[in-house]
Assembly symmetry: D2
Homo-oligomer: 204 residues x 4
């Protein structure tokens, strides 16, 4: 893990732990989350991924060199099958993604992410790392628990914590370099966790 990534995470250790133990995450891992709540999550998370692709492309536009852009382009490419899975699963469940009205917590999180592009590459790349790392860590933490519980959601959890995704998140952390994170990066990284939690709060 890059020194900057490590330092950002260390600065948010408490909130990070709380996030990975969020009631929504635990209920999903234990398989006790009602299907209706899980449906709602799929709709909300789909809205998030749709905006996330726009954000990721925005970070690529801002990125200052080809190695960084290669990593980010790889992320955009990986979103094509990811969005395909979402669309297929939503259809299978008869959920109308175009008719869904996202929660204020979902909109706040996607807005925060998109707005960070105006703060420049340094901040936006820290937000990007935070968003992906939070997602990865939350589901990785409960991966075993979900299997042991035989959770009906365990295939999803396996997908959200898969090794290639973990490698990609490490690559995003490496983009932040080995220096000390700036004050603006720390501030934005901390806010990622706040918005992620509020996004989940709306689901339980």
């Amino acid at each position: 893990m890059s020194a900057a990534a490590e330092s950002l995470l260390a600065g948010e250790a408490d909130r990070w732990r709380a996030m990975t133990e969020h009631p929504f995450v635990l209920a999903t891992a234990d398989g006790i989350l009602p299907e209706a709540a899980f449906d709602r999550w799929l709709l909300e998370d789909h809205v998030f991924v749709v905006e996330f692709r726009r954000f990721l492309a925005g970070v690529l536009t801002l990125a200052p060199d080809e190695p960084s852009r290669d990593v980010l382009a790889g992320g955009i490419t990986a979103l094509t099958p990811e969005l395909g899975l979402f669309r297929a699963e939503l259809e299978r469940r008869g959920l109308d993604r175009d008719g869904h009205t996202p929660s204020a917590g979902c909109l706040a999180y996607t807005s925060f992410m998109m707005a960070s592009l105006h703060d420049g590459y340094e901040v936006a790349s820290a937000v990007l790392y935070g968003v992906e790392k939070a997602y990865l860590d939350a589901w990785t933490t409960v991966r075993t628990r979900a299997r042991e519980a035989g959770s009906r959601y365990r295939e999803f959890i396996d997908n959200w914590s898969a090794p290639p995704f973990a490698t990609y998140v490490d690559d995003l952390g490496a983009l932040l370099g080995d220096g000390e994170p700036s004050a603006a990066q720390r501030l934005a990284f901390g806010r990622v966790v706040v918005f992620e939690q509020r996004f989940w709060d709306a689901l339980v």
Copy 2:
């Protein structure tokens, strides 16, 4: 009022009324809002105005013609004395604007506004109109009430509902033209009210 502005407002009539009767607005008009809450409001609103200037400049960059850009440049110019008032009042009250941590509701609102720049001029100009019109209408609605109540906050309320500001807000509405608002404009305009309310919710 331009046809597009009128149509956007008509589509949000219920939420608009609720907003202008928000407990925070009424308590300020009646002069019963505690000083500590008003201090907090000044700090929060200052954060908002700081981000609003960035947003307004972003809309100017996107605007497609000189008459629109002239209106927007006028708005940026008017923010110089406005920010001066904020800074002076904060200092007079011994409030530390740099040390203030904005509420999640404030951040969500400013993020939503900044993020809308990525949706293009059509949507961003509807957001701009909504933000300014909401502010104007809320304080205009209680202007007389504040005077009659002899509210200790009435000079602020007079400033936030002053005739030149009303004229400027009309000019912003005129930028939207006389056609029917697009679906994307309606959606964004409705979200302004949601975020504005949540911004105020955090204050009472």
Copy 3:
């Protein structure tokens, strides 16, 4: 071909023909372009593709719906092997891409492209179509000529006019819809041809 794409092309018929008969294109097709000039072209075109990926990502950020974003994400994905070919060929020829100073004509073209993102999706998507269609048409026009001449550059020309690329360019044209192009789209589309020609002028 979409009606808008057809209309844009019809409006630039004269300049389009001149462009596809540019001395640089013909000399490459005939295989009489000196190797040093071709080396310089590879370096210049590499600079262009590097900036083009940033531009394409910027258009994705601005695009208003998922079908459009899917097409644009496909374009970004296709640039990964394309950039790989450039890097490999430059290395094979001992050309230093990091040390290359792009011509003013190259910088003007990439700047024009990147700047168009500030004019919004409508204009930027017309620029995107113009850039890709110009490239495709120029090399498609001389594809047979290059084979018949046994041009030493014919494998490159085959790549730049390959059927999957033609399909992708059609998809980009379809993004423009079936209405009449706006005045701003026509203006920007015409400027693409001017900048493309000046980019090539610097090479012969």
Copy 4:
């Protein structure tokens, strides 16, 4: 002058001198530039200022703190009377600003400027300083010469080299700080001079 501004200028000393002795500048100072060429200059420079206001607003959106934004907002405010002068003078001379087709050199310069916003605040603020400093230095260099020659254009030259403008340009230089300019800033600053010269080349 800030250390960064001084270092950027020192790195471009040769091109800077050549620019301030450009045939267009000297012919204007000597009053021997034909009226038709001066008319064309006013039309071209007006196009530039129109885009420059959009650029300046874009830099304000990117700027990281209030003191920087205050300086940039001051610049936007100062452009209102400046654009008024342009519009009045163009009208007085019967020149049609809406019907004017800008030269490729003018478009390349404005495109380069607008495109630099995608490179982030650090680079864009160096471009902003370069653009304004080049303009100021060119006209300041020939200010006395124009008076002594009794140039019919001397009132324009006086305006473009007026003390308040010089103070503002110093303020822009101060925004760059006192550290060493980055490689990206140096590169962009050098390109300003190239594009400025090509802009003027199209006028003589």
